[in-house]
Amino acid sequence: MAQLSYLEAISDALRVAMGEDERVILLGEDIGVHGGAFKVTDGLLAEFGADRVIDTPICEEAIVGGAVGAAIVGMRPVCEMQFADFVACAFDQIVNVAGKLHYRLGVAVPIVVRLPSGGGFSGGPYHSQNPEAWFLHSPGLKVLAPSSAEDAKGLLLAAIADPNPVLFLEHKNLYRRVRGEVAEGSYETPFTARTVRDGDDLVVIAYGAMVHTALEAIEQLPDASIRLLDLRSLAPLDEDAILAAVRDCSKVVVVDEANYTCAMGAQVSSVIAERAFEWLEGPIVRVAAPDVPIPFAPALESAVLPSVERIRAACDELLAY
């Protein structure tokens, strides 16, 4: 066991996967000599060579499309988008090629697309997006969003081993902020939810960076017994864990860093409203970013991103319901 940052855990997963399996290659902009915009791939070029750590031109469609091609002739490509925001430029290849080949033609597409996502550091409208909902609405894609260093490594290893296209949301704001004990070598984290903290008055459902924000909020409410469920995997979605938590707690707050409309939180809420209605003892409260681009100035950005205060207030209010 070593203490690794979230970022180091991701790097470690890539190193372990590449060491174990020759089929694993990396594709992306500035990932080679430069080690990536966030240094996630630092050192991997030296270790595994330019054949396996491929610096590409700026061409997101071709990066993902190229990965699809390599995958279907037997490789295990892992693509990096320099920021998750640029995945909009690879959208068609992900949604229409990678996501649909298996259903249509029985062709498996074992690729991973790494998405450094999320806000919280004045990145502005183009370096702060959380694009997961676009892909959740697109069949044939798995979507993961770890919140801890341990899960980041285990989920990335599982994603690389998975025979399907996986979008891997790594929250930039956790890269260096979050550290934890991470097992050495290879292990896989299952695509299921994780109970971060137990409780039975109310459950907060979150993922990614919002797990930490929610935890802070909950810790400010020591009198209540609040459960925190970290989804970890958004597709497949662990509906059983969600429903069990609602059954136990009867009150739910669903938190999303992404924009409000049609977000993961909307889906979770609708699943609960349909399938756990009888257990509910209050409205299903959502906390999310409003439907605005994420602004640059710190005062504006923090007005928009879900905060400890907003989550705490939501819990408070719902507990009193």
């Binding site: 290659i25 054949d51 396996r52 491929i54 590409t56 031109p57 061409c59 469609e61 071709a62 993902v64 499309g65 190229g66 990965a67 699809v68 091609g69 390599a70 995958a71 279907i72 002739v73 037997g74 490789m75 490509p77 068609d92 290849q93 229409n96 090629v97 649909k100 298996h102 259903y103 249509r104 033609l105 029985g106 062709v107 498996a108 597409v109 074992p110 069949p139 044939g140 798995k142 025979p163 399907n164």
Partner: protein
């Protein structure tokens, strides 16, 4: 082959001179390869030439059958065919080795057939039978049997080009003697993916072959509204060889693709081949193509790719009638079998979105050319 960037040059030297040099280097020129045609093409024996003919006839016969089944209301959805373009896809696929994957487009039934897809599977696919290639999830030309090295197309044009580049990249880094081939229309050359794929392929110098089926139209849009300069000219600007060929001459197409494959396997990088041909039907069956001048169709009708090859074979004394009759019999038989297949079970509609087991890489296809025997 790569030209140094301007950084390698003294900073006050404009890049112009470098690229001028580039222009003169052989790989950057756009000129037709010497196509060895005539009575005795050195790479094609008599059986090969017959096979090329038969595949084209089969391509056309299956599509004609598809049209009539469609008109009988037995084929759901819409229907597209490749009439007039049989030589391009058949000639191109015929030059591929068993391990070379092909990414056909909507006019390229012949490529599927050369790779080993059976007429029965094609017809069953048209008819929406699970016994066809796509388990009835796909229709018309959106199919491909990956176990035979054929990657079925995606509607979005030309999404399979980056994919073909990725396959070739894998072959290169695994040092396998294989290449990939992607076909696409002139209309597809305007799309961003085309550019990203061409440039990436050139930079990575991957063993890929790009076959542009230049039929002068993208649906109703004539070339004059698609581009100003023939897209084959772009090849040099990406740093790859660009070649034009008569797309209605199956042996000529075979030969440029054969050479492009040799170059690819020798590490010479990708080639762009522009095969000039004509879409003799509408974009799909729903389209009467009234925007195409009748004289233009008449000119091209006189250069029918099947008639051209048939004439060659007749000159060689081949009994072409027997071949045509055998194709008809084969298609009749396949039609009967396909029609007898069961319709899909609605309960299967939601299965297989994800792969549950091992990801099986693409398989090997047939490679009927005598050069591979």
């Amino acid at each position: 082959m790569r030209v140094a960037s301007n950084q390698a040059a003294p900073p006050n030297q404009p890049a112009e001179s470098l690229s001028k040099d580039r222009r003169r280097s052989p790989a950057a020129r756009s000129e037709p390869l010497a196509a060895e045609r005539g009575a005795e093409p050195p790479y094609l024996d008599r059986d090969d030439r017959v096979a090329l003919f038969r595949f084209m006839v089969l391509h056309r016969a299956i599509e004609e059958r598809g049209v009539s089944l469609y008109k009988q209301g037995k084929v759901p959805g819409s229907f597209y065919d490749g009439r007039g373009q049989e030589a391009t896809c058949v000639g191109a696929a015929f030059a591929l080795g068993p391990a070379d994957p092909v990414c056909p487009l909507i006019r390229d039934l012949g490529a599927h057939l050369v790779k080993g897809t059976s007429p029965r599977a094609v017809l069953a696919h048209y008819l929406g039978r699970p016994g066809g290639v796509s388990a009835a999830r796909e229709g018309n030309v959106h199919f491909g049997d990956a176990t035979l090295g054929v990657l079925g197309m995606v509607s979005m044009l030309p999404d399979m080009m980056p994919v073909a580049v990725g396959m070739a990249m894998a072959f290169k880094l695994r040092r396998e003697a294989r290449c990939s081939l992607a076909l696409f229309g002139d209309g597809a050359t305007s799309v961003g993916d085309w550019h990203e794929a061409m440039n990436f392929a050139a930079v990575q110098r991957v063993p890929a072959i790009f076959v542009l089926e230049h039929n002068g139209y993208a649906y109703s849009t004539p070339s004059s509204r698609q581009f100003v300069v023939d897209p084959v000219e772009r090849a040099a600007a990406y740093g790859m060889l660009g070649v034009s060929v008569d797309g209605n001459d199956v042996e000529a197409v075979f030969d440029v693709v054969r050479q492009a494959r040799e170059r690819a396997l020798a590490g010479g990088g990708p080639t762009l081949i522009a095969a000039h041909t004509m879409r003799m039907h509408g974009h799909g069956l729903h389209d009467d193509a009234s925007y195409v001048p009748a004289e233009q169709l008449a000119e091209w009708a006189a250069r029918d790719p099947i008639a051209l090859q048939r004439a060659r074979l007749v000159a060689l004394g081949v009994d072409v009638e027997t071949i045509s009759a055998s194709v008809t019999a084969e298609v009749d038989q396949a039609t009967t079998e396909a029609l007898a297949m069961p319709l899909p079970d609605p309960a299967t509609a939601t299965t297989g979105v994800f792969c549950d087991g091992e990801a099986i890489p693409m398989g090997l296809g047939l490679a009927p050319w005598s050069g591979f025997r």
